[in-house]
Symmetry: C2
Subunit: 416 residues, 2 copies
């Protein structure tokens, strides 16, 4: 077995029976299908369809774990980019189906085609999503005229304390899965396949909802202990996805139609300070009750906030500088984004000796300057949460449309 060898031998039989991972697929990975591995019938073992109108990993319900990498392109020829995208596409198609990286003959006298640490593990709902940074559209590859206007570097924003070495990048890969080893394996193998063409610039691990341990927890909590994502766009809401997430006919660059933009922000939480804050103050910062997640004007998590409500002294019940008020679509001309962030912990800050932990914020949207930048300008200048957070990394990428089939590849509409 060489090309197309499966992570488990079982997949071979499954394919022959027509029960492969692509069965029942639909665009955007919304209907994850059961994989056919024995002993792995839980939600965590499923495979998400790779091919479709949109890339998977955007509308796909958030998996448990994240491995995110940004790369600089070190090659200077556009044909190298095409080769890279074709290679990455084939590898991602295989890995998201729970198979090993394909390509070429294997021999005991050659390096293995796949690094092997995911052998025996199921697809684990792996999605791999690619994006192109503004730098890719400089002079090197003759792509300057194809840069969408909305793919401009983000401006300086209130709250920025960015580390330039952990920001930006020509390309990005978002790998999400319900198993950290599967997510890491995907990024590591794509980095390996890209040697000589790309160099990894920064890398971030994250963890999020824990569906495998808590199917009843509908909204995960961030590391401040608050539910995060109550009012987020749902991937299956095609109306909101079309209005706020997918790039459509409004774009100045038709190659990006069916794609999206992703903004990433590494938002460090000053958790030692936060942990010393009073419960009531914490709740005023978010505008929500900590345990229930209800807005301060409601009783349950999904109650709509009543921004007009006042207390006995005439003060707003949901403070004017609370996060829920400042971020609410009602108070931002209806603006929305699709958030898909993960918590992170990266050891100890060597300067302060405190835990370096927080939120790796990921947001998909139709236009980052009209959406994320507008929201962050407002939040960054007024949000009482700012006392407890720092934005330490920032990046923006245009994510091309989905790969249609095995002959297609990521970025074909841009690179040809």
């Amino acid at each position: 077995m060489s090309r197309g060898v499966t992570r488990r031998g079982l997949f071979v039989g499954a394919g022959a029976l027509g029960l492969g991972a692509a069965a029942g697929c639909s665009a955007g990975g919304k209907s994850a299908t059961e994989s056919t591995t024995l002993g792995a019938t839980t939600a965590t073992a499923r495979s998400v369809p790779f091919y479709g109108q949109h890339q998977a990993g955007i509308a796909t319900p958030a998996q448990d774990r994240l491995a995110f990498a940004a790369f600089d392109v070190v090659a200077t020829d556009r044909s190298d980019l095409v080769t890279l995208m074709q290679t990455w596409t084939a590898a991602a198609a295989a890995m998201t189906a729970g198979k090993q990286v394909p390509g070429g003959a294997t021999s005991p006298q050659a390096p293995p085609q796949d690094t092997g640490e995911a052998v025996g593990l199921p697809a684990a709902s792996l999605t791999v999503t690619v994006g192109f940074g503004p730098g890719l559209f400089d002079k090197r590859f003759g792509l300057a005229s194809r840069r969408p206007a909305a793919l401009a570097e983000l401006p300086a924003l209130p709250g920025d304390q960015l580390d330039p070495e952990k920001s930006g990048g020509d390309l990005c890969i978002q790998a999400c899965a319900n198993d950290p080893q599967v997510a890491f394996h995907a990024v590591r193998n794509l980095a390996r396949l890209g040697r000589g063409i790309v160099q990894m610039r920064w890398f971030q691990l994250g963890f999020g909802r824990t569906s495998s341990t808590s199917s009843s927890q509908e909204t995960p909590r961030n590391l401040m202990g608050f539910k995060d994502g109550t009012r987020n766009i749902k991937g299956e809401d095609e109306g909101l996805m079309g209005s706020f997430v997918w790039v459509g006919s409004e774009t100045d660059q038709s190659w990006l139609q069916g794609g999206s933009y992703v903004v990433t922000r590494r938002i460090r939480m000053l958790i030692e300070s936060w942990d010393r804050d009073y419960l009531k103050d914490q709740e005023n910062v978010f505008g929500r009750s900590k345990i229930s997640g209800a807005p301060l004007t409601g009783k349950t998590e999904f109650d709509a906030p009543d921004f007009g409500a006042q207390d006995a002294t005439g003060e707003p019940v949901i403070p004017t500088d609370s996060h829920v008020r400042l971020a609410a679509p009602e108070n931002n001309a209806g603006l929305r984004i699709l958030r898909r962030g993960y918590s992170y912990t990266d050891g100890i800050d060597p300067v302060t000796g405190q835990l370096d932990a927080g939120l790796f914020f990921i947001a998909y949207q139709q236009n980052p300057h009209k959406q994320f930048v507008a929201l962050q300008r407002r939040l960054g200048s007024k949000d009482s949460l700012n006392e407890y957070i720092l934005h330490t990394s920032s990046a923006v990428f245009a994510c091309p449309p989905g790969v249609q089939n095995a002959q297609d590849y990521w970025g074909r509409t841009l690179l040809t």
Copy 2:
């Protein structure tokens, strides 16, 4: 609800019915019991008994995720240490049962007793294991005469490239769980409760076997793609645990009887070099087949290696410098250790631009100098694996015996 408040309200009812997490407990956490949370009936949701002859987290089957922290003690009074251990014990007993951190009245005008990010999550098989470093036995606390001889700092060893800031420590906490947020929550809350008495020195996250996604994968793979742990001691093997892991009557310090020693080593893998190595060479380095995990003289993973077997040219089939040969008990006067390590990935090495990833090696044993040091002297000087690894952090701690009941606390036998 204040003291004893549960992570889920459901636990309150469960306790009243006598179905609490301590039901059916036995020493050492070997018989994990089902928690009673609704919608969380998988193996990942169980709670591991906290009280027993030995600390849990040693013989306990390895959970999926690790959060490991080392601390320096900044207080100078032994009574502060006693207070800390009593506080930590009560908090760990609650958290491992899936409850919030207890203690004191909660008020909206006070910081919450628990940081809250694990509310709604089950116990997830959390174990919390404490150890005392050699530095604790200096002049500060009057404990110098209580230091076991075996709790000496580890000598310089072949392969060391240690970062002193990420090595050592007066105390350690190993938190393992099947949910990363639960493991992180435990360390974070213990660090918070220890403020003014301890300062975190270093912190390491890890991930390991993924029982929730792959119940059929009996031996997890390391980041070199090889199965790791095939010949490890099983926690339920009481004979081997008694001979090689638990401290018994052989110790010079009776307070440690029923305890163990832990050695931690952050072993970075040079995975970019490894990934370019030929499959056959990789297999010769380990002395095993990559996919099956079988020794080169066998057909299946659990076949015993035949160290005498020769090939047609008279060379040993399992090379003389292979890892399996050098580490084998047969070739080390029967010496064994209980390994409980986790893979890690910590972003990019800023010097080389390569992924900083590898194994956070954790090994429990009766005497680190007679066991780990002897093995590592042999491996570090001869093992062909050394070309691909660096030891970047090192620590040793004595882990006191288990906490007997709610009146007992970690380290009582030492501190009183």
